[in-house]
């Protein structure tokens, strides 16, 4: 009896302040703490992966080999890709989901808080293993983030085992995170919060979570087959034993294409929250946004082989994948048109979250255009595996996914910290990032069109000028991100006191709680059926 009472007392305690010390972070089951840890972790990984990019760009600054040998160069590209995809973008989205989904749907926490803790805490180990493998004899993984067999099996160094193990851990973490999101959204919405009333960020994460659960096991299967091919004598991908190396690519891209949407759908949700807030006008076409997101997710399972047009597929398969890939740009277009229509005849202001969101819309669309070009199979034969592809996916990933994450950070920092960030510094960060990201990635289109293959440590002299410009853009972009770090630290430490709703046009339950959001929010669910969320007073 007394224990029960004791526990209840302790529980009551939580309402007012968070426990302190290291154990707060180690044992926490609080969605806000876990969200913060995810976000910090992803930012650290962003800097680590970014330094590797700096090594790559430094080597490519001039033709010839200057700083690193080709084997190490390949390790840098590989680990840069893996870290950015699995360490920077995905955990950042999970961090945002943790912080925002419960607050947006009026739930007290995530549905499975202990699993939440675990899904975060295995991540640092996964990346520690991956990074440690760089110091092994023979170096770390050097076969590209796509780890095509047999380069990753018969011809790889022994760090492959560590690579496989660490990808497994990342996969488990993502799957647990996704399950948590789904269970939370399905079971913990406040009364009156029907599916079609959920904020789009919640919707897009809901759909993303299903994609994750569908494809992360496929990735796990792929790495496991690589492991057994290399160490246990199987021949899944070895023609000599009856296998097929191209089958690896089918399996990988069956995971890989939905994966690129996993990295962009939550961004769609973020800008769909921010643009209406600063245009002071409701989102245009809410329902069609939801349907478009679902359509993109569905189609993303039918386009994987557009990464494999040069592998020698039958013509009918090439045609099928070309048509499906072109088709996927229709719902994507709908989203862009809807954002523009949301701005149309609004009353727009340009705070930093809005600036990043607008840059997102424009630059992501440029990435979408090059994606459409890549979809045209006969021309893809020319573009494939050149810098044109590198330009394409950096436009959608860096000025797409990463910019949206920056936008989200600025948008919700006042809610997280209780302070306004330094708007001047933030604008500096924005303009520095915007200019440098274009200097960095735009010329890559030209290099690719003119014939520069990707993943090479040295190039012929005709590409010298372009690469020099690109590298300068790269260093500038890298440095600009330190401004972001500065703004965030400054904002955490202090600053102008933030009101519950710092943005005039913002809508949603998260703005009904005080800033900073108390350690526990919505212990009693708000009733959203009676009053519109913004009219509720919940402080």
């Amino acid at each position: 009896m007394s224990t029960v009472v004791g526990e209840m007392d302790q529980h009551d305690d939580h309402h007012h302040h968070a426990p302190s010390g290291v154990t707060r972070w180690l044992f926490t089951t609080n969605h806000k703490d876990i969200g913060s840890m995810y976000l910090w972790f992803s930012f650290i990984m962003f800097l680590v992966g970014g330094s590797m990019a700096m090594v790559i760009r430094a080597e490519l600054f001039q033709p010839g080999l200057q700083l690193v040998d080709p084997h190490f160069f390949n390790q840098m590209t590989t680990v840069h890709g893996l870290i950015m995809v699995f360490g920077a973008v995905m955990p950042a989205f999970t961090g945002l989901a943790n912080w925002m989904i419960p607050m947006m749907i009026g739930a007290p926490d995530m549905a499975l808080p202990r699993m939440n803790n675990w899904s975060f805490w295995i991540l640092p180990f996964a990346f520690a293993i991956l990074l440690a493998s760089l110091f092994m004899e023979g170096g770390g993984p050097a076969f590209g983030w796509t780890f095509y067999a047999p380069l990753s099996t018969t011809y790889s160094s022994d760090s492959t085992a560590l690579f496989v193990f660490s990808v497994h851990i990342m996969g488990i973490s993502s799957i647990m995170g996704a399950i948590n999101v789904i269970v939370t959204i399905m079971n913990m919405r406040a009364p009156g919060m029907t599916y079609m009333k959920m904020p789009l960020f919640v919707w897009s994460w809901f759909i993303t979570a299903f994609l994750l659960i569908a494809v992360m096991p496929v990735l796990a299967g792929a790495v496991t087959m690589v492991l057994t091919d290399k160490y246990f004598g199987t021949s899944f991908f070895d023609a000599a034993g009856g296998g097929d190396p191209v089958m690896f690519q089918h399996i990988f891209w069956f995971f890989g294409h939905p994966e690129v949407y996993i990295m962009i759908l939550p961004s769609f949700g973020i800008v769909s929250a921010i643009i209406p807030a600063f245009a002071r006008k409701p989102l245009f076409g809410y329902a069609s946004m939801v349907y478009a997101t679902a359509a993109i997710a569905g189609l993303s399972f039918l386009v994987w082989a557009h990464h494999m047009f040069t592998t020698g597929m039958p013509v009918f398969a090439e045609l099928f994948f070309m048509y499906c890939t072109m088709l996927i740009s229709v719902p994507t277009g709908v989203k862009v048109f809807n954002w523009v229509a949301t701005m149309w005849r609004g009353s727009i202001t340009f705070e930093t979250p809005m600036l990043f969101s607008l840059a997102f819309v424009i630059l992501f669309t440029i990435g979408g255009f090059s994606g459409l070009m890549l979809a045209i199979t006969p021309v893809d034969f020319q573009y494939h595996d050149t810098y044109f592809v590198v330009a394409h996916f950096h436009y959608v990933l860096v000025s797409g996914a990463i910019f949206s994450i920056m936008a989200a950070a600025y948008f919700w920092l006042p809610k997280w910290t209780g302070h306004m960030y330094d708007e001047g510094l933030a604008k500096l960060h924005f303009w520095a990032s915007l200019i440098s990201v274009n200097v960095l990635f735009f010329p890559m289109h030209f290099a690719g069109l003119a014939g520069m293959p990707r993943r090479i440590p040295d190039y012929s002299i005709q590409f010298a000028d372009i690469n020099q410009i690109v590298s300068i853009g790269g260093f500038a972009f890298g440095l600009s991100q330190l401004i972001f770090l500065w703004v965030v630290i400054k904002c955490v430490k202090g600053g102008e006191k933030a009101p519950a709703k710092p943005w005039e046009g913002a809508e949603g339950l998260e703005w009904t709680v005080p800033s900073p959001a108390p350690y526990h929010t919505f212990d009693t669910p708000p009733d959203t059926s009676k009053t519109p969320p913004e009219a509720q007073d919940h402080g």
């Binding site: 010839g64 004899e137 023979g138 170096g139 590209g144 047999p150 380069l151 018969t154 011809y155 023609a239 000599a240 097929d244 190396p245 191209v246 245009a279 002071r280 006008k281 989102l283 245009f284 076409g285 809410y286 329902a287 040069t310 592998t311 020698g312 090439e318 045609l319 070309m322 740009s329 709908v334 048109f337 149309w344 005849r345 009353s347 727009i348 202001t349 340009f350 630059l363 669309t365 440029i366 255009f369 459409l372 070009m373 199979t377 006969p378 021309v379 034969f381 020319q382 595996d385 050149t386 915007l434 274009n438 735009f442 293959p453 993943r455 090479i456 040295d458 012929s460 005709q462 046009g505």
Partner: protein, 373 residues
């Protein structure tokens, strides 16, 4: 910002196209490559038009519909009509794009009725060409000097895009390529032909071209294939059919003579200096990419030969691994890549360089005897 970029880009492309400059896709030298280029420009212009409309609307509202202009926000948030419209119109544009793309693709994949067939085999990090219907075959390796790569010498005009023996094909004839690999996946790419096809180990892919103009065309491996992926260029020389036939006949003759010469030289033995000189040359050309010029290899990836027990003691094993390679590793069989003299020389070199002072020589006849065992 981006509008300006787009307009700059539009302005740049036509100029770039005329000048065959370093900013745009090549128009190439085949009918197919021209069609591919046209598709590329069409889809690019379509994107520009859509971009101008979408970004135009965006910038319009960013400039006009701002709060600082005293704007009161409108409240509309839905219009089924508009939404259907902007679903249907892109769809129709895409159909318009898919039609020419489909016909070009079908033409590209039709490799029937070819006049000449070449088997292209990739391996780490070189290409091998074998002409069907004749006895000509050879390897094609990067010809750029190491010193240029390491910035000790000025880089030449075709830095990294030059090979010792280019592929030669006839103009105006349909040339079919059968493409495969001996180890990892490579990809054989010549932009001017709009041909890029993966070389998959254990499988054979097909591609073809019909070149209009004689000339030298350069490309590169396009699939990450390990350490020296950036150093395996493709060079193709297209010659008038008559000249091509002459060239092919001459090559057949040369290769036949070389085989005879090899047999004749078997009886002769070379002295240590001759062996070491030739051996060093072969070693730097064929082995140093992995085992490194200093013989120390890359620990954990490519073994050191300096001080290796095999190079110091096990002569038979040494000949065996160089001649037959070791399956399941990147150590290739060099028995069919190098002549008997070269094999003998490189093995001798490995047994006597970098302080491996065994003092032993290996002669072409020894290698021959081993191979005939």
């Amino acid at each position: 910002m981006s509008i300006r970029l787009i307009t700059a880009l539009t302005a740049m492309f036509p100029i770039a196209a005329q000048a065959q400059s370093q900013f745009n896709l090549t128009q190439g030298v085949t009918e197919i490559s021209q069609r591919v280029y046209d598709l590329h420009m069409t889809i690019f212009y379509i994107c520009c038009v859509i971009g101008v409309i979408v970004f135009g609307a965006m910038f319009w509202s960013m400039i006009r519909h701002r709060k600082s202009n005293g704007r009161k926000p409108a409240t509309f948030h839905e219009s089924v009509k508009v939404e259907i419209l902007w679903t249907i119109i892109p769809f129709l544009i895409l159909i318009g794009m898919a039609i020419p793309a489909t016909s070009t693709l079908i033409a590209m994949e039709d490799s029937s009725e070819s006049d000449v067939t070449v088997l292209v085999t990739g391996s780490q990090w070189k290409w091998h060409y074998k002409y069907f219907d004749s006895n000509v075959e050879y390897f094609s390796l990067l010809a750029t000097q190491r010193d240029q790569i390491e910035n000790k010498l000025e880089k030449g005009e075709n830095y990294l895009l030059e090979v010792d023996r280019p592929l030669v094909i006839p103009t105006d004839r349909k040339v079919r390529f059968l493409i495969t690999s001996d180890d990892v996946i490579h990809s054989w790419w010549v932009p001017d032909f709009a041909v890029k096809k993966d070389a998959n180990p254990g499988f054979i892919n097909e591609a073809w071209t019909k070149v209009d103009q004689p000339g030298i065309y350069r490309g590169q491996c396009a699939e990450l294939c390990g350490k020296d992926h950036g150093f395996m260029p493709v060079v193709v020389i297209a010659k008038e059919p008559a000249e091509y036939d002459k060239w092919l006949a001459a090559q057949e003759e040369i290769q036949r003579k070389a085989k005879e010469e090899e047999q004749r030289l078997l009886a002769m033995s070379m002295d240590m200096t001759e062996l070491m000189d030739l051996g060093e040359q072969v070693y730097l050309g064929s082995c140093a990419a992995c085992h490194q010029a200093n013989g120390e290899g890359i620990p954990g990836v490519f073994p050191a030969l300096k001080g290796s027990p095999m190079a110091l003691n096990d002569m038979e094993g040494h000949i065996d691994i160089v001649v037959n390679g070791k399956s399941g590793t990147s150590m290739q069989a060099f028995g069919n890549q190098l002549s008997l003299r070269e094999l003998a020389a490189v093995i001798t070199y490995e047994r006597n360089a970098w302080g491996n002072d065994t003092g032993e020589t290996v002669q072409a006849s020894d290698v021959n005897a081993y191979m005939n065992e």
